[in-house]
Symmetry: C2
Subunit: 352 residues, 2 copies
């Protein structure tokens, strides 16, 4: 599996996913702004991956700071937080990564600034490594829902490319495949930016997992014809009540799954769950440029010039359509999420 | 409004819709095969339009026939029927047009062959003219469902370009607009061939009807946010029980509309209703080439080479999701359709 992002000689190497599947090139980011540019222009995307990139962007932002004391150092780092938090509004993982790095600094405030700078680089590396472990745990929990011969629908890319590796929605698929189960994945192409066509179908094919590409509007028909057994998607932010924000179109898939009696699973590392957000209707939904819709691949115009466009990047799937949420800590009913953030909550009690 | 197809100097002039909105060019069809090629490659598409094209293709097929007697003449015409019936399986209008032309010939079997040839050209012209009148009647019936300020979602192109002119799904919109009602149309782009982006948004914009283009996967989110008041789509074949075959994705729109309490109307000239087909699951569903999905606009590859693709061109929306069917003979509940083909059925009784 190709690496989504990694440290090399003190630079954050970010795979430029806008070029996939045609070219495999990395952007060498040497400062916070370069990381932010990659996030804004979706060279890197996927909630967990942009969380990791944020941690790296903060570590990069720390390096040139000349402050000598802790107080001045963290004050100077504020602009890096700001830059990264301003990139994209929907995925909670950016906020999560900022909070994590802040928390890390607070726990090490007695260290000299030069040591902190090195430690931030290491900590961002840990965020990356942990992410892969978290995804593997999601795979171990989620594989229980995948029978031999299962036909699985997914939307957008919540694969290895959306994470440090292994993926969230793809984790149960990879685990099932590794266990020798015969599975078949149907990948929604996911307009406008075609992450399903360009990324999901590519990474699964590369890894030898049978995959068929469909247009987004074909998913319902396949469900209605009895050709889909379950749905697994990722999430950019899941609210405390179990409402799930994810790539535009996820809501349609969820409603269709329910209508056709097909289970709808959300693979969500707990970093994607926003316990401070009571319900999904408060999640900020990013709207992006019309050109993403009218210029396919940034190359071919498919609509009349000057046409009006609505380009919502995400939608919210109400909890009632979600069968279960698969995290690295177990599988939960959406209505049980609210218990997970309680100090000392007995997770076992809430597991499915 | 631009003309979809017309007779000129004994040739069928067919607007090449694969070139829209960039180029406005007509294919000059001088024989049945050229018309069939236009239908197969979707230079002309839309159930009513390919019905008209079929009538023209039959008239063209008649011209070179050398038979002198009626019996030999109609026998020689069989190959034209065959060629046209083999083009695309889902729209019933091809069969309808073949039946109509056959019936016409039977009613004029005493005419000399040379007269019949001329009469077939005229009859195909009548099919075209009648189609426009039928659409205007659909507009008069359908406009009752459109309130001032209505936000209307449509899928694919059931507009003027899918018909002889005026359109089926667009007819109530055009009528409402002409009556001075302020409406706003949301056009699903309709992958893979983007008829919504290329055709619907283009023809409505040209005619001054406010229109916003969205990706197919955005329709549900807009409904859930309360931004859509009603849905109107066309149909390629509606079964006797009210099941509606239409462009892939229509089923998803219908389910989402029902889930969100939004009325879902089907504009269907009675030529699109197949009274011989008891239910929608018997309607043949065309599957088309993978390249339509993987090569956008036939120009840009958007997926890994050799990826497996399912490309269903149509889906079937069960009658239970259909609020009403708007025909040129009135508006009917889907469950009342079966009464329409009864000899002497009192249509008024079944009208909504």
């Amino acid at each position: 599996m190709v690496r989504t992002l990694y440290w090399e000689d003190g630079a954050a190497m970010i795979l430029d996913q806008t070029k996939l599947p045609d070219e495999l090139t990395y952007v060498k980011c040497i400062d916070t702004d370069m990381v932010a540019e990659c996030i804004i222009n979706m060279r890197i995307r996927g909630a967990p991956a942009i969380g990791i990139a944020t941690a790296m962007g903060i570590a990069l932002g720390a390096q040139p700071i000349r402050a000598e004391g802790y107080g001045d150092f963290v004050k100077d780092l504020e602009s890096a937080y700001k830059t990264l938090l301003a990139t994209r509004p929907t995925a909670v993982n950016i906020e999560w990564a900022v909070d994590r790095m802040k928390f890390f600094l607070e726990n090490h405030k007695s260290e000299p600034v030069e040591t902190l700078k090195k430690m931030l680089i290491e900590e961002a590396g840990k965020v990356l490594e942990e992410d892969i472990e978290i995804n593997k745990a999601i795979g171990r929990y989620g594989v229980a829902f995948i029978k031999d011969g299962a036909r699985i629908l997914t939307h957008c890319n919540a694969g290895g490319l959306a994470t440090g590796g292994y993926g969230t929605a793809t984790a149960p698929m990879r685990t099932a495949h590794a266990e020798g189960k015969k599975i078949h994945v149907y990948a929604d192409e996911t307009r406008p930016l075609l992450q399903g066509a360009r990324l999901t179908s590519w990474e699964l094919k590369e890894d030898g997992i049978p995959v068929t590409l469909i247009t987004d509007n074909c998913a319902g028909a396949l469900m209605n014809r009895g050709e889909i057994d379950l749905v697994i998607v990722g999430t950019d932010r899941t609210a405390r009540n179990g409402d799930v924000a994810n790539k535009i179109g996820t809501y349609m898939v969820a409603v269709l799954a329910k209508e056709n009696g097909i289970p709808f699973y959300v693979a969500a590392p707990t970093s994607s769950i926003d316990f401070s957000m009571p319900s999904g209707d408060m999640i900020p939904i990013e709207e992006r440029a019309p050109e993403e819709v009218t210029m396919v691949y940034g190359k071919v115009s498919i609509a009349p010039e000057g046409i009006s466009v609505r380009n919502l990047a995400f939608d919210v799937t109400p909890a009632k359509y979600v069968t279960a949420i698969i995290t690295e800590k177990g599988v939960f009913r959406p209505e049980d999420l609210k218990n997970l953030d309680e100090e000392g909550a007995d997770l076992e009690k809430f597991r499915l």
